[in-house]
Symmetry: C2
Subunit: 145 residues, 2 copies
DNA sequence: TAAATAAAAGATAAAAAAGTCTTTTATTCC
DNA sequence: GGAATAAAAGACTTTTTTATCTTTTATTTA
C-alpha cells in the first residue's frame, strides 16, 4: 500500500496526462489516456467522471470530444486532486486511526505525525498541476509503468 | 485512508499497550488489549499471532499467560512493526504506484516523494518502541478512541 | 489428572476497493 | 435526420481488507 489509494494514483497520473495534452491544445479520449498511463480503461472512466463533476477536468462528448482542462484548473494545486479522491484524512486524520486524537488528547505519535502530514500537505499545496508539464514534455519524467 | 492500513494501526497501538505493561512487569491478555486500544478482539488476535511469529511480541498460553515483550524487542525501532504488517512499499515504493519508477525513469512526483518517504522512514527508525512508554505512563498520550 | 485459562488456528462473513461489461445520452458531421 | 463517435451512467464481478465465530492446542493449578 502506498500513500494514496490506487484510484488516487490513477487520478493524478491521468490529470498530468490530460494537462500535458491541454497545453499542446488538444483534447484526449479515455482510451488514449488509459494506454498512456497504463490503467484499466473503464475504471479510469469512473474516476474521470468524478474529477469532471468536481470541476478538475472538463469533457465533451461526440466526435473530437475528450478530456481537457481549463486554464484555472491547470493552476490548481495537486492537493485538489488528492482531496477530490481520497479526502483529507491523509493531512488531518490521526496517524494511528484514532477518531478523537487531538492536541489535547494526543495519540503517542501525534507530534511525529504532525510534521509528516504537514510535509505531505505542503508539497501538494505548493505544486500546481501545470508545473509537472515541462518535465513530461522534455521526457524527463514518465507516467507509464 | 491514513498512512498505514487499519491492521497496522491496531498493530502499533497494541505494541505500545503491551510495551507499557511489560515495563510494569506484567503480561496482558488479548481481551484487555482489545479493550485498551479499542479494537475488535478476534481481529487483533490474528495481528498479534503475526507479530508473535515475527518476534516482535512474545506470548504464553494458559492461566497467567498473555502477551509481553522481551528487552530486545522494546529497543527495536517502530519501523519493524510497520514493516512486519504493511511491508516497505511506504518507504521504497513509487508515490504514484508505478512499478518501474526509479531515479533513471522517474515519475513526475519522484523527487517530491523521496523527501516525504525519507521523513516517514527516519521518524520510524529513530524512535524505539520503548520511547513512547513514558508519556503513556504519565497519561500524556492515549491509545483508546 | 481434571478443570480452567488463554493463545493458536481455521473457517466464514461483511465491507470496501478495484476492475469489467453493457446501455444510455450528447455531439458532430455527412 | 441518420450514422458515427465519445463520454456518462448503471449493473455486475473480483479481489483485498476488515471483522467474527468456533475449534484446537498448550499451560497452569487445584
Amino acid at each position: 500500500m502506498g500513500i494514496f489509494s490506487k484510484t488516487c494514483e490513477y487520478a493524478i497520473r491521468s490529470v498530468f496526462f490530460i494537462a500535458h495534452r491541454t497545453e499542446r491544445g488538444t483534447k484526449v479520449g479515455i482510451k488514449e489516456i488509459a494506454l498512456g498511463i497504463n490503467s484499466p480503461e473503464h475504471f479510469l472512466a469512473k474516476i474521470l467522471q468524478d474529477l469532471s463533476k468536481k470541476g478538475i477536468v472538463k469533457s465533451s462528448k461526440g466526435p473530437n470530444g475528450g478530456f481537457y482542462m481549463d486554464d484555472g484548473a491547470l493552476k490548481r494545486p495537486l492537493v485538489d486532486v488528492v482531496e477530490a479522491i481520497d479526502g483529507n484524512s491523509l493531512f488531518f486524520g490521526c496517524g494511528l486511526g484514532m477518531a478523537f486524537c487531538s492536541e489535547l488528547k494526543p495519540c503517542p505519535l501525534h507530534n511525529e505525525f504532525k510534521i509528516i502530514r504537514e510535509n505531505i500537505y505542503n508539497m501538494l499545496v505548493k505544486t500546481s498541476i501545470r508545473e509537472f508539464n515541462e518535465d513530461l514534455v522534455l521526457g524527463n519524467t514518465n507516467l507509464k509503468k
